[in-house]
């Protein structure tokens, strides 16, 4: 047993003891963990798995404890690497983690039988166990009386009644943990049939007697389970044949797997609780009963659901926007100030255009993430989340997913970043991956400036009133249609596997705890900043570099120095204009306009000859079939960090200076804006009589941006959530291919009409 050394408050060094917290979902496990561990928490990751464990510290009588919050589960019958983490950890088989000195199982007193199932499994792990009997108030309100002292005697391990949300009983719990840590493992266990125990002993010997008995039992019990997969991978056919034979013998002895386990455990639980748990003869009707009848009702339930989803959607869409604009404005202001203060050069440009813009691009997501997770935490904590999944399951099942994928997909219509982070509620790994991979197809708000610019410029003036609206609707519909199709295709190919068993607990309704909600909002924002922030920043700096270099003009002067000089001159003229008489105003205005044009043209020239500009020229043959010239190709390349960047880049390449995507979004007449006019006039380089932008070209650009994954933040978050580079790369490639093909078809068909 490895032990890490920790400093106890009185200065002497005593080894830190480890407590592993185990429990069913919806038992107040996280609340208990937060109450015991306080604010000092960190997240633990393990290679090859996507679940996280939280770690915290507590101290009892000067003894330091490390708490590990294991993922919530109904059973230790692991089916996947993710579910195996808890088992490996408690058995001391997780590299880098000490074997826990005590396992704390938390059980919901109002639903004792099913909760004790997991505890009876924990008793077989060979580690001392303490049972926290949570929600005794809820149980009492339902007329359920539990004799904890008697239950302690019968189970053979301490049972401590607590109310985690009101922090009652925690002192006794801490003392009990301190007293139990490192003691002898539990003596009592659920009695299995003799035939079963015989097979376990036999199999244990066959395996060399080294393996923890718990795993031998799991090997026998879990047909196709993770223990079986892991063991038979190495030892091959012999072991598999042994296990099969043992299972056949059990089946013949009338105690076949998997039924033998549930019958043995629930049978024992019935014995344990008979006489020390009193239930009322008639179950009283609770407010969960009333509320549930309404919220799962065909009409009223659907209505409430739609209203709630609208609220969630509207909040990420509308409430976050002002804060995002504020952040964007603040970053721009800061950039302008720095540009004035610092000498022009690569360092200033790197700082302003690369790093500062990059940081802005990262924190601009925070409002959406924090708001969405605030809502999700409330919905989850009050018990509604399971109802939402219940209502939407059939719809999502049609594309091979489950109801739990609905909210992440809906959130992605505002922004895929929080949407992908919200997929954590999906336990099934394949379902979760499929949802993550198609979420970026939903039309997010970053695509909006692109749509507005092109629809406003090319599909509004001189057309029937319904054309702009219909086009916009069609753009959103593309995502809504393609995402389920791709999900279905993925589930039938790459992510093929047995349809997961959809059994979902519908928890009791309760008032959400403010503490839990705030905690989740902070955690999600922080996790995003830490894990995805650096990648987003790096991509911004990369694109900055590609558009900054080379910076020398043919005259030998550097573009940015030249630009700064012109800007200085412009400022001088402006100052003069402000001081001068009104008569001279027009003259000055002409001067200012001329100077501004010069600046815009120089900036355009600089970017057009940059590395990225050259890359744009290089890919022109590839984008020509889409109806694009190299400038559009270059703008598309530049928009790799974020789609809306394409608007600003087009503005620069077409000599219209810096155009903000917000400006386009808020413009009453898009076609009349500087950029709008520039796009309408833009000619092909090789045939100046032909205009680049036609309706098919505009549509092809929109379809491309509807389907592509030009969003470094999304890719960074996929990397973070899947813990692998494979999936972000896959997403980028498949979406780019889809986007290219989609744009090609639209342009080619559109040109024929």
């Amino acid at each position: 047993m490895t032990k890490t050394n920790g400093q106890s408050p009185n200065g002497s060094t005593r080894p830190t003891l480890t407590v592993a917290l185990l429990g069913n979902p919806n038992t107040g496990k996280t609340t208990l963990f937060n109450a015991l561990a306080g604010m000092r928490q960190r997240v633990g990751n393990y290679p090859g798995v996507t679940v996280e464990t939280k770690k915290g510290q507590m101290s009892v009588n000067g003894q330091a404890f490390q708490l590990i919050d294991l993922p919530g589960t109904y059973s230790l019958a692991a089916r996947s690497p993710d579910e195996m983490v808890a088992v490996d950890l408690v058995l001391g088989q997780q590299a880098g983690e000490p074997r826990p000195d005590v396992v704390l199982t938390i059980v919901d007193a109002s639903n004792l039988d099913r909760n004790l199932y997991l505890t009876t499994q924990a008793l077989e792990l060979g580690v001392p166990v303490v049972v926290a009997l949570n929600m005794i108030d809820v149980a009492e309100s339902q007329g359920i009386q539990i004799d904890a002292t008697e239950l302690t005697r019968r189970l053979g391990v301490p049972v401590v009644p607590i109310q985690a949300n009101k922090r009652r009983g925690l002192d006794v719990l801490r003392q009990t943990l301190a007293a139990t840590a490192g003691a002898k493992p539990p003596a009592k266990q659920a009695p299995f049939p003799e035939a079963f125990e015989r097979e376990v002993t036999g199999l244990h010997k066959t395996l060399g007697g080294e393996m923890p008995p718990f795993l031998v039992r799991r090997l026998l019990l879990d047909v196709g389970g993770y223990t079986e997969q892991r063991l038979t991978r190495g030892n091959g056919a012999n072991l598999r044949a042994d296990v099969q034979a043992a299972r056949h013998r059990l089946s013949d002895a009338q105690c076949g797997v998997p039924g033998v386990e549930a019958r043995a455990r629930y049978g024992w639980i019935r014995q344990l609780t008979t006489g020390c748990v009193e239930r009322p003869k008639h179950r009283p009707t609770t407010w969960t009963d009333h509320l549930d009848r309404l919220l799962t009702h065909k009409f009223w339930g659907t209505l409430v659901f739609l209203a709630l989803m609208f609220l969630v959607f509207e909040s990420i869409f509308a409430w976050a926007q002002p804060v995002m604009d504020l952040i964007g404005g603040g970053i721009d202001w800061l950039g302008d100030q720095l540009t004035l203060l610092l000498p022009p050069g690569p360092l200033t440009s790197l700082l302003v255009e690369g790093i500062l813009k990059g940081v802005g691009a990262v924190i601009v997501f925070l409002p959406q993430i924090v708001i969405l997770f605030g809502f999700l935490a409330v919905l989850e904590d009050c018990g509604y989340m399971a109802r939402a999944a219940f209502l939407m399951d059939k719809l999502m099942a049609r594309c091979g997913l489950s109801g739990k994928s609905f909210i992440p997909m809906l959130s992605s219509v505002a922004c895929a970043v929080p949407g992908i982070m919200a997929t954590r509620v999906i336990e099934n790994r394949r379902d979760r991956l499929a949802t993550i991979l198609v979420a970026p197809l939903m039309s997010c708000s970053a695509r909006l400036p692109v749509y507005i610019l092109l629809i406003g410029t090319f599909l509004t003036v001189g057309r029937p009133w319904w054309v702009p609206g219909l086009t916009m609707f069609a753009m959103y519909a593309i995502g809504l249609i393609v995402a389920p199709l791709v999900a279905l295709a993925l589930k039938r190919t790459l992510l093929r596997g047995e349809t997961p068993v959809f059994v979902m607990e519908m928890p009791l309704y309760k008032v959400p705890s403010l503490r839990t909600v705030l905690r989740r909002m902070i955690d999600s924002g922080w996790a995003f900043l830490r894990r995805a922030g650096t990648l987003i920043l790096a991509s911004m700096i990369l694109v900055w570099g590609l558009m900054y270099f080379p910076r020398a003009e043919s005259t030998g002067e550097n573009f940015d120095v030249h630009l700064a000089r012109l800007q200085q001159e412009l400022n001088t003229v402006r100052e003069e204009a402000a001081a001068a008489d009104e008569e001279k105003a027009t003259t000055y205005q002409n001067q200012i306009d001329a100077q501004q044009t010069k600046i815009d043209e120089l900036r355009g020239e600089w970017k057009r000859q940059s590395i990225l500009g050259r890359m744009g020229r290089g890919i022109e043959p590839a984008v020509k079939p889409l109806g694009w010239d190299w400038k559009i190709g270059m703008a598309a390349l530049a928009s790799f960090p974020a789609r809306e960047v394409v608007v600003g880049t087009l503005g620069i390449i077409y000599n219209r200076g810096k155009t903000d995507s917000k400006e386009i979004r808020d413009a009453p007449d898009v076609a009349g804006t500087e950029l709008g006019k520039a796009l309408q006039d833009a000619p092909w380089d090789d045939d100046p009589s032909r205009k680049v932008f036609t309706v098919p070209t505009a549509l092809s650009i929109m379809v491309f941006f509807a389907l592509c994954c030009q969003c470094a933040s999304t890719l960074a978050v996929i990397r973070r959530e899947t813990r692998s580079w494979r999936w972000p790369v896959f997403t980028f490639v498949y979406m780019t291919v889809l986007a290219y093909v989609g744009a090609l078809v639209v342009y080619q068909v559109g040109s024929l009409l």
Partner: protein, 84 residues
């Protein structure tokens, strides 16, 4: 013998047997769906699937496909659990 997916909202029944592949059976049994247990259908989702039931002291939802593997015998209606 009817299976769980054939019950209407408000009907109560006793589980007689479970059948199906091992992973499904294990999952259902872990959640407390065993022979002899009493269940009550609480709701059916607006789109017709899944169904919500009460088993032991809690509420569980499962798809019709899974519910079809649980054979039940109907219990008498009209006691305290009936609709108000």
């Amino acid at each position: 013998m009817p299976s769980l997916d054939q019950l209407r909202v408000g009907q109560r029944a006793r589980i007689q047997s479970l059948s199906g592949i091992d992973t499904l059976l294990q999952r259902l049994m872990e959640m407390g769906l065993l022979e002899g247990e009493e269940i009550e259908v609480l709701a059916i989702a607006p789109l017709g699937d899944p169904v919500e039931i009460r088993v032991r002291d809690y509420r569980l939802s499962l798809r019709r496909r899974e519910a079809a593997s649980i054979a039940v015998s109907l219990l008498e209606q009209a006691d305290s659990e009936a609709q108000p």
